[in-house]
């Protein structure tokens, strides 16, 4: 069951969760995600990666659904399309590790200079712009999927618009798509790993955002999986659903406006605000989703590090509320800001739960520090626009990862990042990130990123609030659903069904 109609199944342009979910079942890139979210061979059976580039050796038995072989040319064609400015792909940036990709995408270089070549039908050679320590993970991402030139050209503007306009090389083929209503994916007998796929069909019989309707359909046995909203947890407990939790990798935080004319540019004020926040209380009382973790740093628990998880290798002391420190910092801030703290403008959107969220902080800041918060509530797209333009003191922000590396989070707060809406800027921070980006040596990279994180935290660039967990349930007869942080989620490729009841 999907929340919304998949907006874009053209893999060179997809950006959203629904489309990536479907593409993950219809298509296969050089690599794919395995049962434990690890990278496993896909169309490529083996590869060599070093600081300068990578070579992928494609398996000879991989076929498109019409029987033609999947070749290195299909990747070259797709990747050129991604960075082609005329294609206006919003995710083109994820291909920037490939040499000349950024230049082509910004119109400075010619399209055929992309450093990806098909040495022969089954060998794909890639040169890097600079060493990329997480390139292998990228090859499983939707934007890196292959597209076959002759098929694409034959379908022109209609490519991926309807079942006959999309061709699979993955475990399933799209056999039915009634826009806004339902989709059916059927097993692809020509998929090279077809004998490992036990599922005959994936049906998406309903598309609705209404949480109550989704819950009722699940209770009625019409759908096999269910995301459970915060308001429904009590009902789910009463109905004895077997609930599971899944860290989806998203972090949420308070972002400050660091532009010089803003009160939040003052370090002492930011320190005071951070010291007064009790993240554990916030998570248990406001977020109130079992399993959610209080935020501590820039990099959440799930992210891999050198050998284990990054957070285990570079642990942080957990944040605790310190009212005395907050009051001291507040006095320092008042002195520097001319005697008093002006009211702060808190930008937020009209999504579910945002009122609870902002009112909680409004209350705390007023009661403990005497600071007034004016809430500026906008529709989602307008919230985005206002945050880009810097029209706020504080904005509720969040970030979902694009790849499985701390870089997807720490790069956010570099002075050159377009998503750095608060314009946080620190030369030492930038230097550490550049250092991490210049090498593929995991020890050096991770070390540098951990040091950068320390700087941002000492500066209170942001206040980490929580790491999101989603609660979900599945019917007892479904086995082997895999949840991924990155990539198609949930992953039904290796699901088996036992007899109902």
């Amino acid at each position: 069951m999907l929340g919304t109609e998949p907006p874009q199944l053209n893999s060179t342009r997809s950006t959203d969760q629904e489309s990536i979910f479907l593409l993950g079942h219809l298509m296969e890139g050089l690599t794919r995600y395995g049962k434990n979210s690890e990278i496993i061979p896909g169309i490529a059976e083996r590869w060599e990666i070093n600081d300068q580039g990578a070579t992928f050796y494609l398996r000879h038995n991989a076929l498109w659904a019409d029987g033609k072989p999947v070749t290195a040319h299909d990747f070259v064609f797709a990747w050129r399309l991604v960075v082609d400015p005329a294609n206006a792909s919003e995710y083109a940036f994820i291909m920037y590790p490939v040499k000349n990709a950024e230049g082509i995408n910004t119109g400075k270089l010619k399209k055929d200079t992309l450093a990806v070549t098909a040495v022969d039908d089954y060998t794909l050679k890639i040169e890097f712009e600079k060493p990329c320590g997480y390139f292998l993970g990228l090859t499983a991402f939707a934007t890196y999927l292959p597209v076959r030139q002759d098929f694409y050209k034959a379908h022109a503007d209609r490519f991926a618009a309807d079942p006959q306009d999309i061709i699979s090389n993955g475990p399933f083929i799209l056999t039915r798509w009634i826009h806004g209503a339902e989709l059916t994916l059927s097993k692809n007998p020509r998929y090279w790993r077809a004998q490992q796929i036990k599922l005959d069909r994936i049906e998406v019989p309903y598309i609705t955002t209404d949480l109550g309707a989704r819950y009722n359909l699940f209770r009625d046995g019409k759908v096999d999986t269910l995301g459970i909203g915060r308001e429904q947890i009590d009902r789910a407990l009463a109905d004895r659903l077997r609930m599971q939790s899944h860290d989806d990798g998203a972090i949420f935080y308070i972002e400050f406006n660091h532009r010089p004319n803003r009160p939040t540019a003052n370090l002492h004020l930011r320190r005071a605000l951070r010291a007064i926040i009790n993240t554990s209380e916030y998570v248990s009382r406001v977020v109130a989703i079992p399993g959610s973790r209080p935020g501590n740093g820039l990099i959440p628990q799930w992210v891999p590090g050198i050998k284990n998880r990054f957070r285990e290798e570079f642990p942080l002391a957990s944040h605790t509320q310190n009212i005395e420190l907050a009051k001291n910092e507040l006095e320092l801030a008042k002195n520097e800001l001319g005697g008093s703290i002006p009211p702060l403008y808190w930008l937020t959107d009209d999504g579910p739960g945002t009122a609870r969220n902002t009112e909680y902080f409004q209350n705390i800041f007023k009661n403990h520090l005497g600071i007034d918060i004016f809430i500026d509530k906008q529709i989602f797209k307008e919230r985005l626009a206002k945050s880009r333009e810097g029209k706020f003191d504080i904005v509720s922000s969040g970030w979902g990862p694009d790849f499985a590396d701390p870089m997807t989070y720490v790069e956010l707060f570099t002075s050159w990042n377009a998503n750095n809406n608060g314009k946080y800027s620190d030369p030492k921070y930038d230097a550490f990130i550049r250092q991490a980006q210049a090498t593929a040596d995991q020890q050096t990279r991770m070390q540098a990123m951990a040091q950068a994180e320390q700087i941002a935290l000492a500066d209170v660039a942001i206040i980490p609030l929580f790491e999101r967990t989603v609660i979900w349930a599945h019917q007892p007869w479904v086995h082997g659903i895999v949840r991924h942080v990155i990539g198609p989620d949930p992953d039904f490729a290796f699901v088996t069904i036992s007899k109902k009841n």
Binding site: N105, A213, R219, D220, L384, A385, R388, A418
Partner: protein
């Protein structure tokens, strides 16, 4: 008569033109950016997208292009469903909303006329009081509350029966349509019951009813041909706008019952700031409303020969 219809069509076109212009102006005045996305876009990519949607042109020429395309019946490509044209969205989703809407209106009108008439005839009695109680309930409780309750009850029913008595949600067969049509029609039914009751009350005391009784006509004949026919006009009046609003405005009910109708596109388009869909749907809805009002005016003449529209010379 033909003259009158032509005149009405002409004023209708002008109305639709004003609706289109007002929507266009409003959409460009309110803050919001249809291309905004959660992840920042390179200026170069943004420029490409603006070119694709014609947003790079000055506002006046955008308006010109919009009007030109509208005349050709082309509303452009959706911003959120990037492979679909607005026409395609209307073509595939309006019929579903229309079927649902007409079914619910059929239920609402039939029920409303019947209950209203009965309540009027039995004025002050228990049936009248009971029906008025339900009318207040039907008018004041929003349809999504009825929808949620109805759906919850169906889940319980199916669970108890151990089989699918009624589908919980979805679309396709008549059994899928039943529950949403009833839920969608409740508000309209209540309103029509009220209207019908008051207009019926006026009619029952008219002289011609007494005359009919004195002639010795059967009560059923009096009810059907003397009372009902004369009292039904207000119901017909609200039918035009009701058809238009119910066939396009069932978005909450459509969302709860997972029905792929046009209603949800209305809401989604506004939330996502999908310019082309907002504009296309507003113009479509405006034209539909104007058409329905015209149709109702013509039906007047058929129901009540005293109203001869052609001579009214509007």
């Amino acid at each position: 008569m033909l003259n009158y219809i032509l005149k009405r069509i002409a004023t209708g076109i002008i109305t639709v033109y004003f609706i289109a212009t007002a929507t266009f102006v409003a959409m460009h005045l309110v803050p919001g950016d249809p291309l905004a996305s959660a992840k920042a876009m390179r200026p170069e990519i943004r420029a490409n997208l603006e070119k694709k949607y014609g947003l790079d042109k000055p506002l006046l020429s955008q308006y010109g292009v919009f009007l030109g395309n509208m005349l050709k019946g082309d509303f452009g490509i959706s911003y959120s469903e990037k492979n679909r044209s607005v026409n395609d969205i209307i073509r595939s989703h309006f019929p579903i909303s229309a079927v649902l809407g007409l079914l619910s209106l059929f239920f609402a009108t039939l029920g409303g006329v019947l209950f209203g008439a009965i309540a009027a005839i039995r004025r002050g009695k228990i049936t009248d009081r009971a029906s008025m109680f339900f009318v207040i309930l039907g008018i004041s409780v929003p349809s999504f509350v009825f929808a949620a309750i109805a759906q919850y009850l169906v889940v319980k029913l199916n669970h108890t029966a151990g089989m699918t008595v009624l589908p919980v949600a979805g679309w396709g067969t008549f059994s899928h349509m039943l529950l949403p049509a009833v839920v969608l029609g409740i508000g309209s039914l209540a309103l029509q019951t009220r209207l019908m009751r008051s207009s019926m009350l006026e009619v029952v005391h008219q002289d011609y009813i007494r005359t009919a009784k004195a002639k010795g006509l059967s009560p059923l004949r009096i009810f059907l041909f003397h009372q009902l026919r004369n009292a039904i006009l207000p119901t017909v009046t609200i039918l035009g706008p009701a058809i238009a609003s119910i066939t396009t405005g069932g978005f909450v009910v459509e969302s709860i019952f997972a029905i792929p109708g046009l209603g949800r596109y209305f809401v989604q388009a506004f939330q996502q700031f999908d310019y082309t869909v907002i504009m296309g749907l507003t113009v479509f809805y405006g034209a539909f409303l104007v058409g329905m009002v015209l149709l109702v005016d013509l039906v007047y003449g058929i129901i009540d020969p005293r109203i001869t529209i052609a001579k009214r010379n509007i």
